[in-house]
């Protein structure tokens, strides 16, 4: 069943067109990853899907009663606002202590109920955001570059957590990322975005697509596109891979 779909979205930020003619759909239990360079409109797309931005053209359709668990790229909490982790988990509606504890555990955290949000480390903070999103009992979990600011082991373990969550509660996951090599292996579908949809399909199809290679192959000297695929195609020059 399709939970969420967008038809021919055109979105402007101010006068600047950021997205043009973007269509996508998300089915139950799917993991879909949106990849694209900086400024390609990934966050804008997610924010349009949750209703924070109104598209110039096109429309977003959600099945009635769809619950979305949204994990933003970053969340700044003003120093003047005191809030404990426990209270933060109660934001949308009050949850029982047991549920709160379960959500923290599912997000890979111990009990830091009484800690102020402001004192958490970057990784802990993102996991609390994940725990809060899980407490919405979401049909769709949306994550906007959730591992920004985490080091590589940190983001790898964050993604493992998300796969575990998907297996546990079976929600669909729509994720934005630039860490292609980590994300792609877990995705059912990858959408390559650069203002418009360049290409989409299974990770293998996308990584072989010329549009994808063009986007990630140039400027990085091929480093990003090659990272995962350095064994599935032949190079036309001679060198040895290290490591």
């Amino acid at each position: 069943m399709t939970l969420l779909s967008a038809q021919n979205l055109t979105v402007h930020l101010g006068q600047v067109p950021v997205l043009e003619n973007v269509s996508l759909h998300l089915s139950e239990g799917e993991i879909v990853t949106i990849v694209g360079p900086n400024g390609s409109g990934k966050s804008t797309l997610l924010r349009t899907l949750i209703g924070a931005l109104v598209p110039e053209k096109g429309r977003v359709t959600r099945v009635p009663g769809l619950r979305i668990g949204y994990v933003p790229q970053r969340l700044h909490i003003d120093a003047s606002l005191p809030i404990t982790v426990r209270r933060f988990l109660d934001l949308t509606h009050r949850v029982s202590d047991a549920d709160a504890q379960d959500a923290l555990q599912a997000a890979g955290l111990g009990s830091l109920d009484k800690q102020q949000m402001a004192t958490l480390s970057g990784g802990q903070f993102q996991r609390v955001l994940l725990a809060r999103a899980l407490l919405e009992k979401p049909h769709v979990l949306m994550l906007d570059e959730p591992t920004q600011g985490l080091d590589q082991p940190g983001s790898a373990s964050f993604y493992r957590q998300i796969e575990a969550v998907r297996q546990d509660i079976g929600c669909a996951i729509l994720m934005v990322s630039h860490e292609l090599h980590v994300v792609m292996s877990a995705s059912d579908r990858v959408i390559c975005l650069n203002g418009h949809i360049c290409c989409e399909g299974t990770p293998d199809v996308v990584s072989a697509a010329p549009a994808y290679r063009e986007l990630f192959g140039t400027g990085t000297g091929g480093a990003l596109a090659l990272y995962r695929h350095d064994h599935d195609h032949a190079h036309d020059h001679d060198h040895t891979h290290e490591g």
């Binding site: 924010r47 949750i50 209703g51 924070a52 979305i68 668990g69 949204y70 933003p72 969340l75 909490i77 003003d78 003047s80 606002l81 005191p82 809030i83 404990t84 209270r87 934001l91 949308t92 509606h93 009484k114 102020q116 919405e136 949306m142």
Partner: protein, 263 residues
């Protein structure tokens, strides 16, 4: 009971402290202090309009406070910076209001009472209007608390959870206009923002959750109102500014005590 002017003054002050103390938390969290200032200062223009057309002060002040909010949204939407826009509105409204009142025969004295407050002259009707306003503010905050708090933390999170952050922001703006209308007779236009900011900022140092901050802020506001009124009687000082002095005193004591405990 309402026959005694001191009882009326105490009731009016406490009512104002309750409304301002609770809403003040949002003003602090959202950094709207200067916005509140602009509304309060421009309210003098509302006073002038009310005196000119023999309207209730509460109507003139509320209308101007809402007009300030709309004007602000309109101007910042056209690319003016928020800071400068608020400065223009605040001082433009204040100056225009003072000039307008000065041109009305026999009203110069009443102007001062709206700039600095005159809680000792509130009527039983004033007390009822103030308490109705305070009750309205607390009721709206109570029922919309989750939506308002989430909007303050992150409009995107609020959207994703099915709230309407733009509507909640409008609610906060209207409540702020209501506080200005309620407080202008008690502390006067120049010090209204102090009742919003000072108790909430003092409360911030003592609490761990947003709800506790609202409650403690109301308590500190009420203490400042009653102690301030008492001290104003003893030392024969203007009531509104004395209340603000007590509130600032609370803020200073809490800051010092916390500093000593940490040292």
């Amino acid at each position: 009971m309402l026959d005694d002017f001191l009882v009326r003054a105490a009731l009016a002050s406490v009512g104002t402290a309750v409304g301002a103390g609770a809403l003040g938390c949002f003003v602090v969290w959202r950094r709207m202090a200067y916005f509140g200032d602009a509304m309060a200062h421009a309210a003098i223009l509302g006073v002038a309009i009310s005196l000119g057309f023999s309207l209730s002060i509460y109507i003139g002040v509320s209308v101007i406070a809402v007009a300030v909010a709309l004007l602000f949204l309109g101007l910042t939407g056209r690319g003016h910076s928020a800071d400068a826009t608020l400065g223009v509105i605040a001082h433009g409204g204040l100056a225009l209001g003072i000039v307008a009142v000065a041109m009305m025969p026999g009203q110069r004295l009443s102007l001062e009472s709206y700039l600095f407050g005159s809680v000792l002259t509130v009527s039983p009707t004033d007390v009822m209007v103030i308490w109705a306003g305070a009750a309205g503010i607390v009721t709206v905050l109570w029922y919309r608390w989750a939506a308002l708090l989430m909007t303050t933390l992150s409009p995107d999170l609020a959207h994703a959870s099915g709230f309407h952050p733009r509507r909640e922001e409008l609610v906060l703006t209207l409540l702020l206009a209501l506080v200005v209308a309620v407080a202008i007779k008690v502390v006067g236009a120049l010090l209204i923002t102090a009742l919003l900011i000072v108790p909430a900022s003092a409360a911030r140092m003592l609490v761990r959750t947003p709800e506790a901050m609202a409650v403690v802020s109301v308590v500190i506001g009420c203490v400042a109102a009653l102690v301030g009124l008492r001290m104003a009687m003893t030392f024969d000082t203007p009531v509104g500014p004395t209340m603000v002095c007590v509130a600032v005193g609370c803020f200073a004591c809490i800051t010092l005590l916390r500093g000593m405990r940490r040292a």
